[in-house]
């Protein structure tokens, strides 16, 4: 299938990309394209224009700075898989990267695209909720009103960055709180403190499919008790769901079977699945329960192994 017609732009700066978005309200950003291009072929998306980010420098990279893991929005999923830093210190993120699409998809698909596309079936959003990650959106507000028209284009637009918590970012299916012309440029995950561990459990019918359900757990042990916990769910609602009651069941506990059972039950209750070809509502809740138990068990085990 061939996508409908569209205009294609490949700007070399974020300011130009932002300008193109504002000038074409029906335009979409193109990152790896592995969600957007399939949707365009099926006519589920018919953007009037694509603004390709591939030539804008500085948007890809993984590194720790200022107490955070900072991931450039255009970083390919395969780079997460190859990163020793991610594999060593961010096991929840490493788990997640390994189950997105398939190896060929991950060679082009980007972390920023997975987040900003905000498909409730995408895997990074739940992981980012569990991590208490934040997202940096850059825009170029026009503060030149009052300036003589002939001087306007001489003045460079000033970048304005906004840091958005994962809890506030996902507003609906395929919807985020990014404003028109605002571009996701970076994902920030708080660096793990001593005694931290996490895990992602995804149940899929075949490699490359969206999850029947998936669960992200990130927690921290202190003196044998769980001091902090993040639990979030993939593809069992219109947005990724943070399971606060499951987090509460874990916090203060020793991470033993009883606490994990209680958290699993709370996560299943927090899920809002719809019946579809991947299963019934009851079935998906049962999957969430099982996956929450498994993810929390592995997170606790990893936290115990983590350097104190």
């Amino acid at each position: 299938m061939i996508p409908p017609q569209f205009d294609y732009h490949v700007p070399e700066s974020l300011a130009d990309a932002s300008r193109l978005l504002l000038a074409n309200p029906e335009a979409k950003l193109l990152a790896g394209g592995h969600s957007l291009i399939p949707m365009m072929r099926f006519r589920l998306a018919e953007p009037s224009a694509l603004v390709d980010l591939r030539k804008i420098p500085g948007l890809a990279g993984i590194g720790e700075a200022e107490g955070c893991l900072r991931i450039g929005a255009m970083t390919r999923e395969s780079e997460l898989e190859k990163s020793e830093l991610v594999q060593g210190r961010y096991p929840l993120l490493a788990d997640t990267a390994r189950v997105i699409g398939d190896p060929l998809v991950r060679n082009l698909a980007t972390v920023g695209g997975n987040v900003a596309h905000a498909d409730p079936g995408n895997d990074h959003p739940a992981t980012m909720l569990a991590y208490r990650a934040s997202f940096v959106g850059r825009s170029f507000p026009d503060r030149r009103s009052g300036t003589l028209l002939e001087q306007r284009h001489e003045l460079p637009l000033q970048a304005e960055d906004r840091t958005i918590g994962a809890d506030d970012f996902f507003t609906g299916p395929f919807s985020t709180c990014l404003k028109p012309g605002e571009i996701l440029i970076e994902i920030r995950i708080p660096a793990p403190e001593a005694g931290s561990g996490g895990a992602y459990e995804k149940f899929e019918r075949k490699v490359g499919d969206y999850a029947v359900a998936a669960v992200a757990v990130q927690l921290r042990l202190e003196g044998g008790r769980i001091a902090e916990a993040g639990v979030a769910l993939t593809n069992v609602g219109l947005t990724p769901i943070r399971a606060s009651a499951a987090e509460a069941a874990l916090i203060g506990s020793d991470g033993g079977e009883a606490a994990l059972d209680e958290a699993a039950g709370a996560a299943a209750a927090a899920a809002e699945p719809h019946e579809d070809h991947r299963g019934s509502v009851e079935y998906k809740r049962a999957v969430v329960r099982t996956l929450t138990f498994r993810a929390a068990s592995r997170a606790v085990a990893r936290a115990k192994e983590a350097p104190a």
Binding site: I2, P3, L30, R54, P103, G208
Partner: protein, 163 residues
């Protein structure tokens, strides 16, 4: 609708064309260049029949815009060996790594990249590496054997070359 001038190097040869923005790389390869070894299977970014190497990395060419591949190097199955069989093609021949052959070009290009990154992959690493390429005939058993055989051939030729 926009039309764009692109130059893509395919199997070592530069090809310049005027293309519509919506032209997919797989159609550029098959219809503009007539290289039909790259297959179209599912059209849903699932099956991997359209796999090509884009600057050495295996990708699904049904999910790449030709215009976005401008300036890149593409390798298709036609460009795998230089007049003779590439070790991966040799391995697939010897170990019967195909039946109908539809998935084979994509399967071999993914395997080529896999072996370049990991010259001695174990069975689970091969199965993981080719998990984005679907085969409906072989049950993958002979494909895994073929990739193992290709690894041996590459090792032997390297040793001979070194000696």
């Amino acid at each position: 609708m926009s039309s764009h001038h692109v130059t893509i190097q395919v199997n070592g040869e530069e090809h310049a064309r005027e293309v519509e923005a919506r032209l997919l790389l797989v159609h550029f390869i098959r219809e503009e260049l007539g290289l039909t070894g790259t297959h179209i299977g599912c059209d849903t970014t699932s099956c991997g029949a359209c796999t090509v190497l884009l600057d050495g990395t295996p990708v699904k060419s049904c999910t790449v815009l030709a215009v976005a591949a401008g300036g890149s190097r593409v390798t298709t199955v036609e460009g795998m060996g230089n007049g003779e069989l590439h070790p991966v093609q040799q391995g697939f021949t010897e170990k019967h790594g195909l039946q109908c052959g539809f998935c084979t070009p994509g399967m071999m290009l993914t395997s080529k990249a896999l072996l370049e990154a990991n010259p001695d992959p174990q069975e689970d690493e091969i199965r993981w590496g080719i998990s984005g390429n679907l085969c409906r005939c072989t049950g993958y058993v002979n494909i895994v054997k073929a990739v193992r055989r290709a690894a041996e051939i590459m090792k032997e030729s390297k040793e001979n070359g070194d000696g």
